[in-house]
Structures are given as C-alpha cells and as structure tokens.
C-alpha cells in the first residue's frame, strides 16, 4: 500500500510528460491560442488518488519532462510550478479509503473546488510568465491567454473527469449525483454545441461573404482568430457561469425531492429497528398533495398498526410472564399428575417408546 503513491506519481508524471510531448498542444481549429489538452487529467487524477505530494510531484516533474522532450529544458520553470500546484491542490480533494461522492452537495463542492484550483494555477503561471518573459501586455496575457486556457482546461476536466470517476466508482450513481451529472453535461454540452456551431458559421461566412473578397488573406486569418477567441471566451465563460448556477439549482431541486424521501426512509428504518413510533415526524410530508404525500400517509397508517400491535404484544407478554410459572399452572399440573392414570402412564412411557423402537 505504501508503494501506491510512488507508483502513481512516477506513472502519472511520466504519462503527463510524454503526452505533453507527443500530443503537444492541439489547437482548436481557427485559433492558435486556444489549446485542447486532455492530458491535464493526469496530474489531477494522481492528486485525487495519491494525495497532495503525489499530485505536486507528478504535475511538476511531468511538465518538466515534457519541456525537456520538447527541447525547452527548464526555461519555463514557472509552468512546472503551476502544474505542480494543480496536482498538489487537487490532492486536498483526495479520495480516502472507501470515500465516495454520493450527494449533490459533495458533487458541487468537488467541481467548484476544481474550478478554483485551475484558476489559481493558471493565474500564477500567466502572471509569472508576464513578469519574467514579458512580451505582451498584462491585459492581453490575462484575457487572450490565461482566460482561454482556464476555460479549455476546466471544461475538459468537467467533461472527462466524471466519466473516469464513475468507472473508478468514486462517484456513486445516486439520484442526487445523477441530477448533478445531468446538469453538468446538459449545460456544458449546450455551450460546446453553441461554440462549435458559432465557429462553423463563422468559417462559412468568411469563406462566402462577398464583402470580404477584397480583404487580404492574412488579415482574414487574424480577423478569424479574433472572432473565434471571442466566441470561445463568451460561450466558455457562459458555460462555466451556468454550471455554477446549475450546481445551486440542482442542490435546491435535490433537497426538494430528497428531504421528504429521507424522512420517509428514516421513519421506515425506525419502525424496522423497533424505535418508539413518532407519526408526527411524517406530518410535513403527509400534508403534501403529491405521490410522496400519499406514501407518507400510508406509512403513518402502517406505523400506527405496528405500534398498536406492539402495545398489545407487550401486554400479552406481561401475561405470559405471569402465567407461565404461576401457582395456578402448578396446581393444574399437580392435579393431573396425582391421578392414577397419569402415574401409571408415567411409569410406562419410557418403556412404551423403547418397545416401539425395538419392534421396528
């Protein structure tokens, strides 16, 4: 077991570095600045499974390995630190033995925390990059570079990580988690679709608009990059905003549905374990006009019956305790036992049984 974090760190870090080299940075068509890096999952997974140190080392050294393979050596050390931060901070969310995400609250907290971690790590990388290597203005660094990178990494994480966690059984397919997943995929999916159709429309328009015939090719490319970037920033930011709002909305919906179900479950469990019956705990649910209300009322009836039967049984058992060894019992037994018939029977009983067994 002590080897697990080490294996995770080495394996995850190596995979991250190699993917960074082999896949490089895949750009979104139409914009060189917007890169798609699914390998960003590796440092996060190492953190989640191995803890902060494993995540930190896998992120930092994985990135360094990629840079070395790409011929940059240690020049961009600040990016190594940023990747280490990503893995390390994700390590705080680490799954301990037997720990899973089963409620919408935990689900929301988890993904909001990931959003925060990505933001911090990339802000650090971009600002240090600006301070050390300069080249562009701070505004450009943040808006044209940092923001698209955050959006791209976070959206990719939101789309890919739940599937991985489901496979690894860290996400439990409860109703609540199902609601969260549905919300996440519908909202992110809608915005990705909006972005993709927007980009397609843009490509088509630029290729066909007669107004643009006179514009030279280089300007056209720059214009297109500009618009694609804006489109990505707007749809991406909107997607994230919607997801954050969506988390709160689904939290509310989940509670609206689950609170009554929980109190019903609790009442059933109490009955099963023979706890004192308190029908009024179900009153709030029973006053509902929907199916849950009907269920709660049926359960109240059942609970009343069980309680009545229990009261009756308790009374009965008191009688049993009194009667089982009472004077009256002994008197009646003595009365029977005194009879001559009983005495002769008693004398013969064993003999009768023995004879029968021999005769078979």
């Amino acid at each position: 077991m002590r080897w697990r974090p080490v294996l995770l760190t080495v394996g995850g870090g190596a995979l991250y570095g190699i993917c960074n080299h082999v896949l490089g940075a895949i750009s979104l068509p139409g914009s060189a600045v917007i890169t798609v890096r699914p390998q960003i999952l590796f440092p996060q997974l190492v953190g989640l499974l191995g803890g902060p140190w494993a995540g930190l080392l896998a992120g930092g050294f994985g990135n360094l390995l990629g840079d070395i393979l790409n011929g940059h050596g240690g020049t961009y050390w600040n990016w190594c630190i940023a990747n280490g931060m990503l893995g390390g901070m994700t390590g705080w969310l680490r799954f301990r033995a037997g720990q899973t995400i089963s409620t919408i609250a935990a689900f929301s907290r988890f993904f909001l925390a990931l959003l925060g971690i990505h933001t911090i790590a990339l802000l650090f990388a971009c600002t240090t990059h600006f301070a050390i290597f300069s080249g562009t203005t701070l505004r450009e660094t943040l808006l044209d570079w940092c923001l698209p990178a955050i959006l791209s990494n976070v959206l990719l994480t939101f789309l890919l990580l739940p599937a991985v966690l489901l496979v690894l059984k860290y996400l439990q397919p409860t109703l609540e988690v199902g609601l969260g997943l549905l919300m996440l995929y519908v909202l992110v999916g809608c915005m990705v679709a909006a972005g993709v159709t927007g980009a397609a429309a843009l490509t088509w328009t630029m290729g066909n608009a007669s107004e643009l015939r006179a514009v030279d090719a280089e300007t056209l490319v720059r214009l297109r990059e500009r618009v694609t970037l804006d489109l990505f920033r707007i749809t991406g930011a909107a997607a994230l905003l919607l997801v954050v709002v969506g988390f709160f909305a689904s939290l509310r919906i989940a509670y609206a549905i689950l609170t009554p179900i929980r109190s019903i479950m609790k009442a059933v469990d109490g009955l099963r374990r023979g706890e004192p019956w308190r029908r009024e705990t179900l009153d709030p649910v029973a006053s509902r006009q929907d199916e849950l209300g009907t269920m709660a009322r049926l359960l109240q009836d059942m609970g009343d019956q069980v309680r009545d039967r229990e009261t009756e049984l308790t009374r009965q058992l008191e009688v049993l305790r009194r009667e089982a060894d009472s004077k009256e019992v002994h008197r009646r037994v003595a009365e029977i036992a005194e009879s001559d018939y009983f005495k002769s029977l008693q004398a013969q009983a064993a003999e009768l049984r023995r004879k029968r067994h021999e005769s078979r």
Binding site: R273, R309, L313, L320, R360
Partner: protein
C-alpha cells in the same frame, strides 16, 4: 420408523389440524411415508383437508377401538398427487364423523391403551417414517397417552393470553412424561420485529424452543380446511413456517 409426533394445542381452533395435514403433505413431498391419526374423536375434522368425504369413510379409528376391525383397515391412502412422484405417502386414520359414533365414544369411553397398540401396528403395517397425531385439545386421557408415547411433541399456540396458561401446563406435563423432544409453534404470529420479541419471551418463559412461527394468512382462511394450502401456496409465509417445522422433524 423415525418418530411419532404429537401436535397439540391446549385450546381448539388454533390451527392444529391444518398444521398436521400440511406438514404431513410436505414431508410426503420429500419422499416420506407419513401416517396421520385423528385422535380428536369428539370433534374430528382433519379428513376434509385431505378431501376425504364422509361417504368415503367406511371404517374409522372408532371401529378399531371397538374391536370391529384391525387398525390397518381403518387407514386410507390420501397421498396428494404432487407428493406421489418421490415415493411419498400419506395415510389417514380418521375418527368417525357419525354423530352416533361420537356420542357412543363420549358415553362409553374406550380402552385408551389400545391407541398405543394401534399406532404401533399401523406404523409397522404401512412402514411409516412418521406418525403425526392430531390430538384432542385439553389434557384428556387419550391426549396424555399420545403425548406419553410420542418421541416429539409440538405445542401449538397463538399469541393470546388465553393460550399461555394451558400451554405451560401441557409443557410441564410433557416434561414429566419425559418426552424426548419438546418444542413450540406459534400460529397467527404478529410478524415483523414483533416475532423476535415474542419468540425470545416464549423461550425464556417456557424454557423450550420455538420451532416455527406462522403469521395470520387471509389466503389460508379463505381455503378454510377444504384443501392442502401448503401444496397450493408453497411461498406463503404460513407454508414456510410448516416447512420449517418439517425441517425440524427431519433433524434427529
């Protein structure tokens, strides 16, 4: 012969006849040869469960006790069709249903010890594995004899204060008769967790194990005593309780 088993309840209407008949059928379904004796001569009733009509019964336990016929001639093969396949058999030794016969037995009595001889002969003649005795409620002489010759006694009771004292008396009497194996069956048990409470309380107060607990069953009540409910409804909780009792009888 594995065992003579008396099934007794201190009061009538407890479900004794239904228990005897169905446990007999379930044992036959396991390939056993089972005899059923109705010693409830004053209020016989078990024959209807096996579908035997009054006109089918020409000779009864009464005739044997009066010396009219050998005991074998008063036993009827009532093996239910589903039990025959595995070689199982059920033979019924009915008590007479004729009003005159019942009055005569009540007035003149009979030589109770003949019961013992009769059971032994019947077991041998039919090579029975089990003989189940549906006893008369209370503790009359023939019931005491049935208990005395039994290898096992099952005392059936309902969770009802009227049953507690009589059950205790029966158990204490059976202890004095040194019946080798004594146990209880609860009929119309309250169900759910209440069963555990009831079982624990019965076992501590009586000092004997509870072998089976059957709940009330509306389905059984509708069938009344007209058919073998246990073969018709193998998954009913009452049938499961009878199976549990049959299991118990099968373990030495």
């Amino acid at each position: 012969m594995r065992a003579i088993v008396s099934i007794h309840s201190y009061r009538g209407g407890t479900g004794k006849s239904n228990t005897v008949a169905n446990v007999a059928a379930l044992l036959a379904q396991r390939g056993r040869r089972v005899g059923v004796a109705d010693t409830d001569i004053q209020s016989p009733g078990i024959h209807t469960i096996f579908g035997l009509r009054e006109t089918d019964i020409s000779r009864s336990l009464n005739d044997y006790l009066w010396g009219n016929c050998p005991v074998r001639d008063a036993a009827y093969d009532v093996t239910p069709a589903p039990c025959a396949a595995g070689g199982g058999k059920v033979f019924l030794l009915p008590a007479s249903i004729r009003a005159g016969d019942i009055v005569r037995i009540l007035q003149d009595g009979y030589d109770v010890s003949l019961l013992n001889t009769g059971f032994t002969e019947l077991s041998a003649a039919l090579s029975l594995d089990y003989l189940l005795i549906d006893t008369h409620p209370g503790l009359s002489e023939e019931t005491l004899l049935s208990i005395a010759i039994s290898d096992r006694l099952v005392v059936l009771l309902r969770p009802d204060e009227q049953d507690y004292q009589g059950t205790s008396v029966t158990l204490k009497v059976a202890e004095r008769l040194a019946v080798p194996s004594l146990g209880l069956m609860v009929n119309k048990a309250p169900g759910t967790i209440l069963n555990d409470k009831l079982r624990a309380s019965l076992e501590t107060n009586y000092g004997h194990p509870v072998w089976a607990m059957a709940p009330h069953s509306d389905a059984l009540m509708l069938v009344g005593s007209a058919r073998l409910f246990g073969l018709e409804a193998p998954n009913d909780p009452v049938t499961r309780a009878w199976q549990a009792l049959a299991d118990r009888l099968e373990t030495p």
